[in-house]
């Protein structure tokens, strides 16, 4: 018999933390949510993630109670895990129902590759396109377009990246579905044209209307305000 306690330390707008929330909800794992202000980090967060000092952090505590008449053996493991994709894999391996990663090693490697590659390339290019203007923005949009073309090839003919059900890659790339439209508005630009990218556009609709996903998004007006502020700060920092 076990008593599990799962806590997620996160910042409301973080797309990285959102991945972890989705993984937990898809597997129907009960957890406590602890909001962290990333501009004023708590001592607890710094203790839980001393290397990167970032959210999200998942803390899993498991108290194993002995069966009746057995020798008492209480094991309490207080386990912090950082880095969103690593947390998602841990969740997938610990709670085995509703598997997120494919079973076959090659398909697993494929999903992991796309999760990190898209994050590196589109995450960076998208941020620059959202927060900068002029030539810098144009260059970022071109880089974003290159990777978005590859994502379009990946999703072609599929409802989700995971096939019929949401899988690891949907969870890893889900930020695109709700955050890119916000970034497009803040940066007055377009990254995902529906006519040019019909596959991704369909996937975005499918993903956001999934019963587990649809009520998890941060309020749009709050996100717009937050990213407008981030864009203004970025522009001010770069003024000569």
């Amino acid at each position: 018999m076990e008593n599990e306690d799962v806590k997620l330390f996160n910042f409301w707008v973080s797309p990285f933390g959102k991945r972890v929330e989705w993984a937990l909800k898809l597997k129907d794992v009960k957890y406590d949510y602890v909001e962290e202000d990333i501009f004023n980090k708590s001592n607890l967060l710094l203790q839980l993630n001393p290397v990167h000092k970032k959210v999200p952090v998942l803390v899993y505590s498991c108290v194993q109670l002995p069966p009746p008449f057995a020798v008492p053996n209480i094991v309490h493991a207080h386990k912090p895990i950082a880095e969103s994709l690593i947390i998602v894999e841990y969740i997938d391996e610990t709670w085995k129902h509703y598997p997120l990663l494919p079973r076959h090693p090659h398909h697993k490697a494929h999903a992991r590759f796309w999760a990190t590659t898209v994050e590196q390339k589109l995450g960076k290019a998208g941020w620059v396109a959202m927060s900068r203007s002029g030539e810098e923005q144009e260059k970022a949009l071109k880089e974003a377009n290159d990777i978005i073309e590859k994502i379009e090839e990946e999703i072609k003919g599929k409802k989700y990246f995971g096939g019929e059900n949401i899988g690891y890659l949907d969870v890893a790339l889900g930020w695109i579905a709700y955050l890119v439209p916000v970034w497009e508005e803040v940066g007055s630009m377009k990254m995902i044209e529906p006519l040019k990218f019909p596959g991704i556009t369909s996937w975005m609709t499918n993903f956001l209307s999934h019963p587990v996903i649809k009520d998890t998004l941060p309020p749009r007006d709050k996100m717009l305000l937050y990213y407008h502020n981030r864009r203004n700060n970025s522009q001010n920092l770069h003024k000569v």
Binding site: V51, Y60, A77, K79, I81, A82, E83, I86, I87, E89, Y90, E93, T94, P105, H106, K108, A109, H110, R112, F113, T116, T117, K121, I147, K150
Partner: protein
């Protein structure tokens, strides 16, 4: 175990390529190794890694896998006989992945900045490099390997960079052994394993490569 259809696209000084060689050697997998020339990338490389166009690429039964730690995990899963590279305990496995990711984000860049750096920035680059190693040394603590008693994933992720230590020390004018004695002892321990000794080039060969690179790019 002889494998007819395992090909590795590599570039011999690459620490990332060395990781894959170590993992294949740990599992006793035979493979064909093809050296790539960065001035003239092969059509096979461009076909199998169109996104990054970088080595290493492992091609198993005609299917490519890219990104070195992704490949190492694939090797551990596709050939799941012992030795296992990732721990069976799920929490320890998450920690192994965490440190692999830390090494990916920090070590290559800090190593490169030291051996290509010069002038006023050299001191700062040296400082960041040593800080990075000390973080890893703290994680190693008094264990023989990062995973504990057995050589594993994090050791595979980090040990290739030790073939660059002589280069870093020579160009950076620093002593890694003085700053991080436990890490250097760990490196020597790893080099006693065949899989590591046969996968890492001699440090002097790496130094000669680095010297040529600096001359070619006007970085002296």
């Amino acid at each position: 175990m002889a494998e007819a259809n395992v090909v590795l696209l590599d570039f011999w000084p690459s620490s990332y390529g060395m990781r894959v060689k170590i993992a294949l050697a740990e599992k006793g997998i035979t493979y064909e190794c093809k050296q790539e020339d960065f001035q003239a990338k092969s059509s096979l490389l461009l076909e199998t890694n169109p996104v990054h166009k970088m080595i290493p690429v492992l091609i198993h039964n005609g299917k490519p896998i890219c990104e070195s730690l992704n490949i190492v995990q694939y090797i551990d899963e596709a050939w799941n006989h012992k030795p296992s590279l990732l721990p069976s305990d799920l929490y320890k496995r998450s920690q192994a992945r965490f440190w692999g990711d830390y090494i990916d984000k920090n070590v290559y860049n800090s190593v490169k900045r030291v051996w290509t750096g010069k002038g006023k920035e050299q001191e700062e680059h040296n400082k960041q490099f040593i800080e990075c190693l000390k973080t890893l040394e703290d994680e190693l603590a008094n264990k023989p390997y990062f995973g504990g008693e057995d050589f594993g994933y994090v050791d595979v992720a980090l040990v290739p960079f030790t073939s660059w230590f002589y280069t870093v020390e020579t160009f950076g004018k620093l002593s890694i052994e003085e700053e991080c004695p436990k890490l250097v002892a760990w490196a020597k321990r790893c080099m006693q394993k065949d899989s590591v000794a046969t996968s890492l080039p001699h440090p002097h060969k790496i130094y000669a490569f680095a010297l040529q690179y600096k001359q070619r790019h006007g970085l002296e």
